[in-house]
Subunit: 176 residues, 2 copies
């Protein structure tokens, strides 16, 4: 028997850290709803316009998507509970840059993706951000003949719908 | 040491089944890259324009997002490996409808979300689909005081980046 609800039940989803340069220094925010599309050439996510990160993305037209792991929980919680207006998050991680000099990426994250702003979608207080993927980076130690095993990366999966917990990746499910 | 790669590394992500009525009957396709946004009021995903499902979404301006679980692997594999042009997928599941009479939803999926087409984003062979969430449905047995525990739902998480495996949800990670 199905129960109709008005809650957001599209879950669980990957936790990422969005990086941007704001007021001249790297800043990182937590986002739990990001999707690649167009064969991985583009990335979609959304944020409040009032977010400090929004200012940086609009100014520099660049940002990064970083995939953290379970070892970075303390830092993720700081990024998720404070604004860069109040707290200098540039010292939380070692920042590196690829070709995009205003897309700060996190050395401690197993995966980091540099993006150029491609388009924005206006939804009132909220804005959809479409990025063009410029280059992706992964720690060499996770690469096995060019392939990844995400169990080693230990990404964090976030559940909504009144669950509101972080989860690790579970066992492989056999695709028959 | 970070290695630059051109692969899509934004992973792992939730596996869903997109439902649409095409040529008068329900059809379901597998998508592994969907994101809610605007406080869960909207949903973004993308698909090839040549997909059979695309035809149905454009005709009826409605679709559904269904979250399957590990018990539906055989059906998911049929949906992911065949086109509705060749195979009648309407008999794979028990279909139900909410207020939207052309957004077929899957009774066997723990969660189903009925959507109206709100906007499309043209990316050549690919199209971004933005849906407005009309109503979400969940099996009553998963609700505990109005909340969910996604471990009971057993959603499927799909890893790209050369992993290409399905995973279950793992242990809860303590948010300090």
């Amino acid at each position: 028997m199905k129960q109709p609800l008005n809650a957001n039940l599209l879950s669980p989803l990957l936790v990422v850290l969005i990086g941007a340069v704001v007021d001249g220094r790297p800043n990182y925010m937590v986002v739990g709803y990001v999707a690649p599309f167009d064969f991985g050439k583009h990335i979609f996510f959304s944020l409040y316009k009032k977010r400090y990160t929004h200012q940086g993305i609009m100014e520099n037209k660049t940002f990064s998507v970083n995939i953290p792991n379970e070892l970075l929980l303390a830092e993720i919680n700081i990024c998720g509970s404070t604004s860069g207006r109040d707290v200098d998050k540039s010292t939380l991680f070692d920042t590196f840059y690829g070709g995009l000099k205003t897309a700060p990426m996190i050395r401690q994250c197993p995966i980091a993706i540099g993006c150029e702003l491609h388009d924005t979608l206006d939804y009132g207080e909220n804005v959809g951000i479409i990025g063009r993927v410029v280059k992706s980076y992964v720690d060499q130690k996770y690469l096995h003949d060019g392939n990844l095993d995400f169990r080693e990366i230990r990404p964090i999966i976030w559940a909504t719908g009144g669950d509101f917990n972080y989860y690790g990746l579970g066992n492989r499910v056999v695709r028959r």
